[in-house]
């Protein structure tokens, strides 16, 4: 409660500076990628040959695409983003800490989190700048929103600390009493019918349509998917009718 909120302007400038720095360094980096030669020259010789598809279970280990261009591209990119193929710790301390951390901002699992920094919000662009895709800067994570875009962000998201630009000195609030509400907790894992089956989604998918926001590269480490290369999540991961507001559910 006593740490100062991160000033969005400082964050923005840090991003700009960081990006420029990376760009500069990147530009001076010697690299075997050939910017000059047009692509079709590199792909010459591959016309007309049909390659067998790579089996699913070998996809992770096989080189992406056909040509050296894409392979080189990926290798260079992999240096710039957090590694997506590192083993993800889904058990134990870090996952519990991640869930406890999430719970700190939510009255119950499923509640819209309170905003840990003061905002004014005049337009939705102010929020989208950091939260549309998520931004990670020097230890702070601006999580991407898991629901589709809405316009009036502060309709649902209260502030953890008020935007009042002064230290409160008014007399004690008689309504500042304790509240004994105990909200429902976050699920820790989805059920699987066998050890290796894809887990059932243990939470509502309404307002959580963008799986990648919590489970993708800009999510918390302990919640990341083990297979971020697969994009069609609901192909394998079923929802649970007893949780979803669906016919037969509730």
């Amino acid at each position: 409660m006593s740490s100062p909120p991160v000033n969005p302007l400082t964050v923005l400038l840090a991003v700009v500076f960081g990006v420029s720095l990376i760009g500069f360094l990147r530009g001076t980096d010697t690299n075997d990628y050939d910017f000059e030669t047009p692509l079709r020259d590199l792909a010459e010789g591959d016309h007309g040959v049909v390659r067998p598809a790579v089996p699913y279970w070998e996809m992770r280990n096989s080189p992406r695409g056909d040509g050296p261009v894409l392979a080189a591209d990926l290798a260079a990119l992999e240096g710039a983003v957090p590694s997506r193929t590192d083993a993800v710790d889904l058990t134990g301390t870090s996952k519990r800490e991640a869930l406890a951390d999430r719970a700190e901002h939510r009255a119950y699992f499923g509640a819209p989190p309170v905003i840990p920094h003061p905002v004014r919000q005049q337009t939705e662009a102010e929020c989208k700048a950091c939260h549309e895709n998520g931004v990670r800067i020097s230890g702070h994570q601006a999580p991407p929103y898991p629901h589709e875009a809405y316009v009036s962000c502060t309709q649902c998201h209260a502030m953890a600390e008020p935007a009042l630009p002064w230290e409160e000195t008014t007399p004690a609030d008689p309504r500042a009493v304790d509240n004994s509400f105990l909200g429902v907790a976050s699920p820790t894992e989805g059920e699987r019918w066998t050890g290796v089956a894809p887990p059932v989604i243990p939470h509502m998918t309404f307002m959580r349509e963008r799986c990648v926001s919590c489970h993708g590269p800009n999510g918390r480490d302990a919640m990341k998917s083990t297979h971020p290369d697969r994009q069609s999540c609901e192909q394998c991961h079923a929802a649970d009718a007893s949780i979803e507001q669906r016919p037969g559910g509730r």
Binding site: V114, E161, T169, F181, L182
Partner: protein
């Protein structure tokens, strides 16, 4: 001790503690191993949200007799799964630690616990002291059965018409505006207008904060690529203004002039809807002698002439709105292809000419033909969750009877007496005292003229914080030993602080209920958790007091056959002891009362369906009409042939409750009139009061939710930058805001959440420590009796340390 041994011991200690922590049983009542998580362990049921008039539906998750989660109800037509921050945290309002759990009687200045039986005796004593001086101050947050029980108790029982709701301070001008225009209350359209309109005009309200889900409903259409124009007319910049395409700032009270200016331009441009006006409109003016809502016929030429002065230049001078913007508004209304929805709430209602303002907004839509098709409607937004359903439809107003009837009309009294099975002549034909008059009388000594109200029973509202000009309306009564105040509430409030008897009450899903929202949608819910301590339902409290009086032989509590006024049969024979709290939920008292009340609703075509229908749905919009196949069909658009079954076939539009009896709506001439108190040399600034999204009304519930309180903990004086500089005030400086009536001290916030123009300050009223209503004005609209909280004259100065 060696380091090895130390380390070993520490490790052992930590392991032991961790094991203890992981396998410990329920600490605060919930065992995580029992899956305190989404899934079969949590029971879900529907309920409307406890807060605003939007009437969103929520799904309430209950486990171990406690609310543990809230989700937006995806099957609800109103909100389609979305809520606002108050709705998402509505589950927490039940669990503030200082819930009232015992009846409390003030003895020697201290509130001391008493039994329910003793409390009921005290109330019965006060009734018997002088039944005609017993008053009931109710609420637009009353459920329909609660309001109906109070209405029957007072008007059909005690035969006192001194029952009035807090909706008097909230929606009364909207009611009189509807009645003066259409002859019957409540909007013609529904929320579907928000889905279909091209243009939204806000007339002095701030839906981004006050009806957030409705605001999103039309604003999110923009994100989906639709072209929708928002025109915000307001006396200050708000969060709504930030999203608007056009922001028109107007001077307080000049909204009257703006509406007249639009009518003037429609005439000048010849762009009014001649066909519609010819077939469906009459023109009205106030009677010179004894003005009333009926008015008298006004010749069209006379009406036109009356509008002559409202040239754009004149209106611009009074209002501060530019001539271009006035032309823009008139051009929009002159374009029949544009679908325009007007929204308004407290800015137009809490107005000393609130009835006029409501009539004028209806008038602009009627005259330009922008009415009666989806997206094209004047839509009055209601503030409270059941001001429509309870206060207005059940008629818990000093002059009204259920179903749109009036105490002054003999056929209406006769019908009500028949439905209630009470002796003919029981109902008093003289309207009782409306809110301001009720409290004024309560604050007048009984020996003086007009001091006959000796007791007021307050339920589900907080007049100690929300009545205007409290020094005039409440303080004298508080000090007067002959006057008694009973307060049924859930938390300690500014009213319980001064009450003589405090009754702990059940809250929201701790009881069953029925609400009616802003689009005529009646919605039902069942009790889902138990209330704490000895808190009991407000409805039971009324029935129990009634039975106490019945036991004492009080005539008013007997019906025509000598039976208890609230008599209900047991299905297996015998009487259902509904006054006995332990038996109260043996049957569904709500259903009994609702089915009795339903009969009243046919007269004004506000037909309600059977209770069981509402159980199945997320609400139904009345009139709900039974179809040949036995299903019940709701009505989205009234008075329009394509949807309203009561419209005469072939007439396209039929205002079948027209005050002129010819199926026409009334367009009134109402001039601009200056407010009763304007800034002058002594008090040079305007004070506007209102709300913020975090807090509901006087903040007694939301103030106890940590997430909401944390987001907006304290009231502030929102002040313009230039004014602050002139006064030598910076952010956080304590200032005194003072009027002729009272003063408060609070911190200043330059601009604040909204931005006032120079010469205006804004103070939200949710903070118990800053009772701004000691400062506000009690002057009210002559027809609706609704006070004007939005404009009075104050002076602001820096508080010297």
């Amino acid at each position: 001790m060696t380091t090895d041994r130390r380390s070993f011991l520490k490790l052992a200690a930590l392991t032991a503690a961790t094991t203890a922590a992981s396998t410990a049983g329920a600490s605060s009542g919930i065992d995580p191993a029992l899956a305190k998580r989404m899934g079969p362990g949590v029971r879900w049921d529907k309920a409307p949200c406890r807060f605003c008039g939007t009437g969103c539906h929520v799904q309430v998750g209950v486990q171990n007799n406690k609310v543990v989660a809230i989700a937006g109800d995806v099957h609800a037509d109103v909100n389609k799964g979305l809520l606002c921050m108050k709705g998402y945290h509505v589950g927490l309002i039940l669990y503030g630690e200082d819930r009232l759990t015992k009846p409390l009687l003030r003895k020697n200045g201290e509130l001391t616990p008493v039994s329910w039986d003793e409390a009921l005796d005290v109330i019965a004593d006060r009734v018997e002291l002088d039944p005609k001086g017993f008053a009931f101050y109710g609420s637009g947050q009353w459920t329909i059965p609660e309001g109906y029980a109070a209405q029957k108790f007072m008007k059909g029982g005690i035969a006192s018409n001194h029952i009035d709701p807090n909706a008097r301070l909230c929606m009364a001008s909207a009611v009189t505006g509807f009645i003066a225009t259409y002859g019957v209350d409540e909007p013609n359209g529904c929320y579907q207008d928000l889905d279909d309109c091209d243009v939204i005009i806000t007339w002095g309200n701030n839906p981004a904060e006050m009806h957030p889900v409705l605001f999103s409903r039309f604003m999110d259409r923009r994100s989906r690529g639709e072209k929708i124009t928002l025109i915000d007319m307001s006396t200050r910049r708000t969060r709504t203004s930030a999203h608007a395409d056009h922001f028109l700032r107007f001077n307080p009270q000049s909204d009257l002039a703006i509406a007249n200016g639009i009518l003037h331009l429609l005439l000048r441009n010849d762009s009014w809807d001649k066909d519609f006006v010819e077939k469906h409109v009459n023109f009205r003016a106030l009677e010179a002698d004894k003005p009333s809502l009926k008015g008298e016929a006004m010749d069209f030429e006379a009406w036109k002439t009356a509008l002559d002065p409202y040239t754009p230049e004149y209106v611009s001078e009074i209002s501060g709105v530019s001539v271009e913007d006035l032309h823009m508004l008139a051009d929009l209304f002159g374009d029949r292809d544009k679908k325009i929805t007007s929204l308004w709430c407290m800015g137009a209602n809490q107005h000393t000419r609130g009835t006029a303002m409501n009539c004028l907004i209806h008038g602009v839509h009627l005259f330009s033909g922008h009415i009666g098709r989806p997206g094209d409607n004047p839509t009055s937004l209601t503030g409270q969750p059941s001001a429509c359903g309870t206060a207005r439809e059940v008629g818990t107003l000093a002059h009204a009877l259920p179903g749109g009837r009036l105490v002054a009309k003999e056929p209406h009294r006769t019908q009500s007496e028949e439905f209630w099975n009470v002796p003919a002549g029981r109902i008093d034909p003289k309207p009782g005292k409306h809110t301001v008059a009720m409290f004024k009388s309560w604050s007048t000594p009984k020996s003086e003229e007009g001091g006959n109200i000796h007791t007021i029973w307050v339920q589900v509202t907080n007049p100690g914080q929300t009545l205007p000009n409290r020094n005039l309306l409440m303080e004298p009564g508080v000090k007067d030993p002959d006057k008694f105040l009973i307060c049924s509430d859930v938390y300690p409030t500014a009213t319980t602080e001064i009450a003589d008897l405090v009754l702990p009450s059940s809250m929201w899903v701790e009881k069953s209920g029925v609400f009616g929202n802003s689009e005529r949608r009646t919605q039902q819910w069942f009790k889902q958790v138990d209330p704490p301590g000895q808190a009991r339902d407000d409805c039971w409290q009324i029935i129990a007091v009634a039975h106490k009086l019945f036991e004492r032989g009080f005539e008013g509590m007997k019906d025509k056959d000598g039976k208890f006024l609230f008599h209900m049969d047991n299905p297996n024979g015998g009487t259902f002891a509904n006054w006995d709290w332990n038996r109260y939920y043996d049957q569904n008292v709500d259903e009994h009362l609702f089915e009795e009340y339903r009969q009243f609703t046919r007269l004004k075509h506000k037909d309600l369906a059977p209770y069981s229908e509402y159980v199945k749905t997320r609400g139904l919009r009345w009139p709900v009409v039974e179809q040949p196949d036995g299903t019940w069909r709701e009505t989205r658009y009234r008075f329009a042939e394509f949807d309203d079954p009561y419209v005469k076939p072939g007439s396209t539009h039929d205002f079948y409750h027209s005050t002129t009896g010819d199926g026409r709506a009334q367009v009134w001439f109402r001039p601009y009139e200056a407010p009763p108190e304007v800034p002058d040399e002594e008090y040079p600034m305007w004070l506007c009061t209102g709300r913020v999204i975090e807090h509901w009304h006087s903040g007694t519930m939301t103030g106890r939710v940590p997430q909401l309180r944390g987001s907006m903990p304290a009231a502030y004086c929102e002040i313009n930058r230039q004014d602050a500089a002139n006064l030598g005030v910076s952010n956080g400086d304590m200032v005194v805001v003072e009027s002729r009536r009272g003063a408060v001290e609070l911190p200043a916030w330059i601009d604040g959440r909204g931005s006032p123009p120079p010469g205006t300050v804004f103070v939200p009223f949710f903070d118990e420590r800053v009772k701004i209503n000691f400062v506000t004005l009690h002057e009210h609209d002559p027809f609706s009796k609704q006070p004007d909280y939005k404009k009075c004259a104050v002076r602001v100065r820096r508080l010297e340390a």
